[in-house]
């Protein structure tokens, strides 16, 4: 939990769209993307967020040749009393689902 708190960003990879070219791994400034051990449906190793350290700079998205393989999310901080807006749990789910 502490690790996630520190991350300003979050990375979502669509494993069916990623072709495993590895450009994002090379491009990521904080080096928080790696290639998966598991192969996807089409036989590619896919980009995987290591789970922490994303700064939401968006460079991985920019170098990725697939239109929707990578989605970059950025943390915004709001007062906790704002009702019904907590997406933190949702973001966590996203992170789990994509890795």
């Amino acid at each position: 939990m502490e690790a996630e708190k520190r991350s300003r960003g979050l990375l979502k990879v669509d494993v069916d769209e990623c072709k495993g070219c590895g450009l994002c791994v090379e491009a990521c400034p904080p080096h928080v993307i790696s290639m998966s051990e598991k192969l996807n449906h089409y036989g590619y190793r896919t980009a995987t967020y290591v789970g922490e350290g994303c700064t939401a700079c968006g460079i991985c998205f920019m170098v990725c040749p697939e239109p929707g393989a990578i989605t970059v999310l950025k943390a915004v901080y709001r007062a906790s009393d704002e009702p019904g807006r907590s997406l933190r749990a949702e973001a966590k789910e996203v992170a789990c689902a994509s890795n």
Partner: protein, 485 residues
Amino acid sequence: MSSGLIAEYEVVQGKAKSFYDTYERKDELQHQTHYCPGCGHGTIHKMLARAIDELGIQDRTILVSPVGCSVFAYYYFDVGNVQAAHGRAPAVATALKRSRRDSIVVSYQGDGDLSAIGSAEILHAANRGENITVIFVNNAIYSMTGGQFAPTTLLGQKSTTTPLGRSAQHEGYPLHVSELLATLEAPVYIERVALGDNKQIAQAAKAIKRAMENQVKGLGFSLIEVLSPCPTVWKMQPVQAQQWVHDVMEKTFPLGVFKDRTKEAHVWPARDAAPPLETIPEILGVAHEELPEGKAEMRAQVKDVDLHVRVAGFGGQGVLLLGEVLAEAGLDAGLEVSWLPSYGPEMRSGTSNCHVRLSKEPIDSPLVTVPNVLVAMNEPSLRKFDASVKPGGWVIYNGDAFPEDCVREDVHVLALPFTQVANELGDTRAANMVMLGALLEMTGALPQESVDAALKRLVKNPRFVELDERALARGRELYRNSAVR
């Protein structure tokens, strides 16, 4: 972070709206592009889609996709799409932009498409300063077809057609398209960018957006050349290919802005819209007042006719005009007609002939290979076509005596010195109309009023109209007085 705050995540970078959600292509693969892993096309597509999104022009963007790997760009972009013949995208884009002036037209081309087969199209579109955006993806090779050498292939670079590497001696030097086009006056913005590293990619995205913006502002022609990796054909890993763009390609193709007139460029006033379709006949001077009812009536009066006419002679004898008047008169009388000229490049003293068909039924072919009327304005033409005349058909020959070796038992012949007759009327050039007069009288196919109308439309000088009318009348008279029936 204080305990009073919680983190929420918002998407900052995601699939552009200008892409379709799913791609209508092969069954299983509707979720990804057809490009190879690490291909530059996908990256450039994303930059373009992002620019379209940001400028809010998705509804009026038309993407012209080329021949090459990006031929299928229409599977991905949710904009207007036209796929052009090899190299012709700038010409297609010109037409689109001129006929739909509010549209934003992007010509997306590879280096084989743009710099080889399409070199003329891009040169002239740039020189005309068409208000379009060209994305020129340069990977120094023909990739879709498996790696043949392109005009942009680097010196020493191996390809399937330069297996020992490109040599300047045999294949010339790499073509620098951006530099070349930047020598023209009209283009507004030409920049070469690359996909060699993060910084370069960011710059490429900026340049593409600027090129689109220029068009939105109406400034004129913008071209962005993108040095783009092709890992598959270069036989490299994607990261290695990216590195090659940066370390090797860039040495031959230096990056930078080669032309930027965006500040001083003025917005041309929009070209006038094309005139409405229904006004075109009037503009061309072919308006028929009595269409279509009057024609139908006249047509009913015209007797059954199926003329296959071959008119032949020297260039300058009025062969084509004879055929044209005949066809135009047929058109005026409500018949189906065709007129097909066939001539050499000479304006005078070459040979010339034309095919004319007139029929009440739709015409299958405008070619007349077996004429039922041959109008031979000189002896060589007679010799050339005499044998082709259908048995029972007619030969109208311009000459004193019909050559004996051309005589056929199964055709009718009217041989008279028409040129001399025309000379007596005041001008030898009217010989064609004397012959036409004889033809009209012989076939009785067309009402005189249609012939008069045709003559007035095709012959602008009233002096010649008068002469031709006399010539036609004389031709009719000659036929009536002749012994041939």
